[in-house]
Symmetry: C2
Subunit: 183 residues, 2 copies
DNA sequence: GGTAAAATGTAGCACTCGCTACATACCAAA
DNA sequence: TTTGGTATGTAGCGAGTGCTACATTTTACC
């Protein structure tokens, strides 16, 4: 054999990215052990071996995905602060409308749904992600904004409402809602 | 037998309410035929008999639930039009924060998630419900509102964003977002 | 080189899933 | 009384679920 140490390369760090891709493509609720294992090039037996049980696996996977999402947000926002609140909202929305972000949005609504249903683990994930997004928003408000903290909360509400309307294929409605806003 | 015609009482009209209760309590994605049948006092065999297959059953169930939701909204909004946009938003939010409405909200986010994932049937349901909610909002705007149509779209965006934050247990954030809004 | 630990394959458990086949009932019209 | 549509129970199929037992191979270390 040319590569003798190939085996030991399989650890959590190598399994998580592959499984994250699978979850982004096929959803979280449909993520069962055998397909997950197949996507990571291993077996259900090994996933249990590495993560203990499915619940812990999903928790670690959500952590990993949250970081990946934050990184994607940062990368796509562009350089420099926006000049107005309206520009800030538009930059976020046009960023999250990109095809690459679509799987993240789908996953996000799945988490919100699980959270509303009270499923264990989803609440923590959703809260952590919301707070991360909020603090990120505060840091990316216009430089001369009179109330960056309150404004960030207002924009977060608007953005999430608008993204929900986009999720249900009401993009025209979402646009009109922002036009009629007093931004 | 005392009651000879008992059998024929079991039809779609009697099955749907019971199944709707079950879905509101346990979610849509976990709604499998046998538990649904049990909640309606019949068997999976009979559900297929009445509805053809599961897909058609879910479609009819979503229709039924949409009407039930609209009725609940109407009932809880109170009499008379609100005086201001802010009052309008607050009446909607306080109405949907009631415990009775919680199952409806959970179901709604489940539909949004399925819609974002592109699952067949969810898109139509979500669109119909959104449009129903929008026209309802237009009819319940303040009497002297300068732009009821655009305003309704704006308020819908705000309300949905706020409800999402409530769903992920960020009610404080949701409140602060509305306070900082320019309503 | 020997050995303990880590990793992996195969097989299987008990369960749920949507759905179907088959055998009945029941009741009304012909 | 026969016929035919409606309604129901029982049993089962094939697939998939999380998870485990057991045996085997590979790796790392002394």
């Amino acid at each position: 054999m040319v590569s003798a140490a190939k085996r030991s390369e399989m650890s959590k760090d190598t399994l998580l990215p592959a499984m994250a891709d699978h979850v982004l493509a096929h959803g979280l609720s449909q993520a069962s052990l055998r397909p997950l294992a197949k996507s990571a090039g291993t077996s259900d037996r090994m996933l249990i071996y590495h993560f203990g049980n499915k619940e812990k696996l999903i928790a670690e996977l959500l952590d990993y995905l949250a970081e990946k999402y934050a990184a994607a947000l940062d990368q796509g926002f562009g350089d420099g602060l926006p000049m107005t609140r309206k520009e800030c909202v538009q930059r976020i929305l046009s960023q999250s409308a990109k095809p690459d972000m679509q799987p993240f949005m789908a996953l996000w609504w799945e988490i919100v749904a699980g959270c509303a249903r009270g499923i264990a683990g989803y609440g923590e994930a959703a809260q952590a992600m919301t707070e991360k997004l909020l603090s990120w928003l505060e840091a990316h408000m216009p430089a001369d904004d009179p109330d960056p903290q309150g404004g960030a909360r207002y924009l977060l509400t608007l953005v999430e409402g608008s993204q929900m309307l986009s999720a249900v294929r009401q993009t025209r409605l979402a646009r009109e809602g922002l036009v009629a806003s007093t931004l």
